[in-house]
């Protein structure tokens, strides 16, 4: 699914602010993003703070950054395979159980939704400030990330869009 899809821009754009790094909330963000993109809307997801975990190149745990605190935070937060459930996480087992239940009921899993979002031309952008705090660099993020932007750029680009905060 590498072919990019042309988006017809006769509908209101959708911008999702993915602040959360919780498995269930990130899932909701990607369901909205892919659904909107598939129904001909231009979609951007702005990842900030905990949401950046979704974009890390390392899906597991890695002590990224230079300082001891950044390393500790990055290790403990982990990547997209380590996203916790917002409730009933049970020490990290729940996301695996939930993924199993999703597969059983033919619901797209998070990696599938991320791949679909990319194929549909959903724009993934990362928050510059949050990257700074966590001492992350562009090279620590997956290739699908189109840009690293500040809040002013994000607001300018979303001037005529619905903005949804997750």
């Amino acid at each position: 699914m590498t072919d990019k899809v042309e988006v017809k821009a006769d509908k209101k754009d959708l911008t999702l602010v993915c602040f959360s790094g919780d498995f269930d909330k990130v899932l909701a963000a990607f369901v909205m993003a892919t659904g909107a993109a598939a129904t001909n809307r231009k979609v951007t997801i702005f990842f900030t703070f905990w949401g950046l975990n979704v974009l890390k190149k390392d899906y597991g745990r890695k002590a990224l950054g230079k300082g001891i605190l950044a390393k500790a935070f990055n290790f403990l937060m982990g990547g997209r395979n380590k996203l916790p459930l917002s409730r009933l996480n049970f020490g990290g087992i729940s996301p695996y159980l939930m993924t199993g239940m999703m597969k059983k009921h033919n619901v797209a899993t998070l990696p599938e939704l991320i791949e679909a979002a990319h194929a549909l031309g959903v724009r993934l952008v990362a928050c510059e400030m949050a990257l700074h705090i966590l001492e992350l660099e562009r090279k620590d993020l997956i290739e699908e990330v189109e840009d690293v932007v500040g809040v002013a750029t994000f607001l300018n680009e979303s001037e005529n869009a619905h903005i949804v905060f997750v």
Binding site: K8, A119, L120
Partner: protein, 72 residues
């Protein structure tokens, strides 16, 4: 004619798969889609028409399933 069965898919992969399939096809090519009534039947043909594709036919094939033919 290309073929896609989305009866076992759930939202949002129903219209995501149709959209991605159509994106890979050439203009003028036809796509046969088998889908369930309800949400997919309401939204897939409408979303295809919005993109400027033509929905040539919609027919019920039993068991709540429908066959639609879309021309890119």
């Amino acid at each position: 004619m290309e073929f896609l069965d989305i009866t076992s898919e759930t939202c949002p992969m129903t219209f995501v798969k149709v959209k991605l399939k159509l994106a890979k096809m050439d203009k003028g090519q036809e796509l046969e889609v088998i889908l369930n009534e309800g949400e997919p039947l309401q939204n897939v043909p409408a979303s295809c028409e919005e993109q400027g594709y033509q929905v040539l036919s919609i027919e019920e094939v039993g068991g709540g399933k429908h066959r639609i033919i879309i021309q890119k």
